[in-house]
């Protein structure tokens, strides 16, 4: 497959992939109301790698869950192309932190779950190609507890991609992994994104991870959860892990850090 032409043709179809307009969400709890999202508006471009960056508790997960149709907003709306997101959408797949595999199913049957739920036949050819791609071929009969954290997360990426969604939502997917595995996974997800041209929305609280992966970084601030800044990242691709130790990269990390620190004062 030719990735670049694929993505160019997609970009030329104009119109944003997803549109978030005036999204607000409040949680009413016993101790009062939490304003988790406050009038967040954002356009996600087709085929882009978008990172949402912010401190813990700034509403990143709340926003992503709304985009996944897993919960509603207090006000505002989210659209995928022309259609309003009010329930989980087949075009959107979610990748969770800590892989979230079902421990009573082996790898093959974990990956078959989305098909079972949609009452369709698993796309065997596609699944085995994906497993091959992420280096899990031959592990189909293994149970999650027999796999390392990195392998589990790769399996969950296969599960998400198996149903061929056009949007991938990832909520701090590599947050629980050690630094080495995390680098590996970041490289892998960049490659997969370049090969498939999916639109990826990726949550992280690591500035370096966001800079390494993103076309654009949405920086959020907390209480209430708002978009503080949107940063374009024009580093050439594919980006090697070593790009993270270049002075230019480090300078950009510091710029974003300053931006966040300023806001705190």
């Amino acid at each position: 497959m030719n990735a670049s032409t694929d993505r160019e043709s997609r970009n030329s179809t104009a119109g944003p992939k997803m549109t978030i307009s005036g999204a607000s969400k409040r949680y009413d709890t016993r101790s009062g109301t939490v304003h988790a999202l406050d009038r967040v508006s954002l356009e996600v471009r087709d085929g882009e790698f978008l990172c949402i960056l912010g401190p813990s508790g700034c509403g990143k997960s709340t926003l992503l869950w709304s985009m996944a149709g897993l919960h509603g907003l207090s006000s505002g709306e989210i659209r995928l192309g022309p259609s309003k997101i009010e329930a989980p959408h087949p075009e959107i797949a979610m990748i969770f932190q800590e892989a979230n595999l079902l421990p009573w199913r082996n790898l093959e049957s974990n990956i078959a779950l989305p098909f079972e739920l949609k009452r369709t036949k698993p796309d065997r050819a596609r699944i085995s190609r994906l497993l091959q791609r992420v280096g899990l071929a031959g592990f189909e009969s293994k149970y999650p507890r027999e796999l390392s954290g990195g392998m589990q997360q790769r399996a969950s990426i296969v599960r998400g991609l198996a149903v061929d969604p056009s949007v991938l939502l990832m909520d701090e997917p590599f947050g629980a992994l050690d630094a080495f595995t995390r680098d590996e996974m970041n490289l892998l997800i960049q490659e997969i994104w370049m090969e498939t041209g999916k639109t990826i929305i990726f949550i992280t609280h690591s500035i370096a991870e966001a800079l390494f992966l993103a076309d654009r970084i949405v920086v959020m601030s907390a209480r209430p959860g708002r978009i503080q800044e949107i940063v374009e990242v024009d580093l050439p691709r594919p980006r090697p892990i070593s790009v993270q130790s270049t002075p230019e990269f480090i300078a950009r990390v510091n710029d974003i850090k300053d931006m966040i620190d300023h806001r705190k004062v």
């Binding site: 869950w65 087949p90 800590e98 779950l113």
Partner: protein
């Protein structure tokens, strides 16, 4: 149930996982599950030594037969009385199976439904505990007055004894909700029923199997007890009969059968647990 879920973003932290994976469950039952051939041999040897030793000691000290018959006599009685005993064995198994099936089904369904409604659960739980702790045998004379001397009162007693056991353990299992797993299923468009069958039930399975095991053993105790309280059939009735006739070898032959049933139940659910309920052990 969905409305409750919709606004809860799980923290996905390690702590939550720890809360969820209640140890206990089947892991406590599976100790010594990986027996080697040697260990199996030793277990058999010990049995041989115990039975042979009993045979020898009883003969040596001339223990009267009406106190404790020799194992060989018990075995002989089991063979010679088999044609009289086995119809009663069938009655006992029938009552146990029917009573347990009814009780376990109701217990399971109640657990599944009730755990979805925390308020209802809080109200109902003390009553279920009351049922668990009250010996259902005490009800048998009453049930006999109402239903006569057939199988019905015993089946009802068995259902009442095993159902709450299944219910209380299953409920513990169903309470182990993992919001992240439910969210995962929903993100792929799962219906409420699918979430129940593909996530909640497998999640609760280790505890459900524990409940079934304990419930069926309770059921066996209640079946035999109820047969001893009243009725003309069943192994419990045979215990009364043989002891009143002071036919101790036959009495112990029935005891041996009961022990065999109990062990079989245990082994069966142990195997079921290993196959379907040991993912968290």
């Amino acid at each position: 149930m969905d409305t409750q879920l919709r606004d809860q973003i799980p923290t996905f932290g390690a702590k939550q996982g720890a809360d969820i994976s209640l140890s206990g469950g089947l892991s406590s039952l599976s100790s010594g599950s990986n027996r080697t051939a040697f260990e199996t041999l030793v277990i058999i040897l010990v049995a041989v030594v115990i039975i042979g030793g009993a045979e020898l000691l009883i003969a040596l000290f001339e223990v009267p037969q009406y106190i404790l018959p020799r194992p060989s006599l018990i075995a002989a009685a089991l063979v010679s009385e088999w044609k009289f005993i086995w119809p009663h064995l069938l009655v006992t198994l029938y009552e146990l199976l029917v009573g347990f099936t009814i009780g376990a089904s109701i217990g399971f369904l109640l657990a599944a439904v009730i755990t979805q409604f925390p308020f209802v659960e809080k109200i109902v739980t003390p009553y279920i505990l009351l049922l668990v702790t009250t010996p259902m045998l005490a009800l048998v004379p009453l049930l006999i007055l109402r239903f006569g001397f057939g199988s019905e009162p015993r089946i009802i007693a068995v259902a009442l004894a095993s159902g709450p056991m299944v219910m209380i353990n299953s409920a513990t299992g169903f309470r182990r909700v993992d919001l992240a797993k439910i969210a995962l299923a929903r993100s792929f468009g799962a219906s409420t029923l699918q979430i129940f069958t593909k996530i909640r039930i497998p999640m609760a399975m280790p505890m459900i199997i524990v409940g079934l095991m304990v419930g069926s053993i309770f059921g066996l105790l209640t079946t035999v007890g109820a047969e001893m309280v009243g009725g003309a059939e069943g192994l419990g009735n045979r215990l009364n009969y043989y002891s009143s006739m002071i036919r101790m070898p036959q009495f112990f032959a029935v005891i041996t059968l009961l022990a065999t049933i109990g062990i079989s139940i245990y082994v069966f659910f142990f195997w079921v647990g290993k196959r379907w309920g040991s993912w968290d052990a």
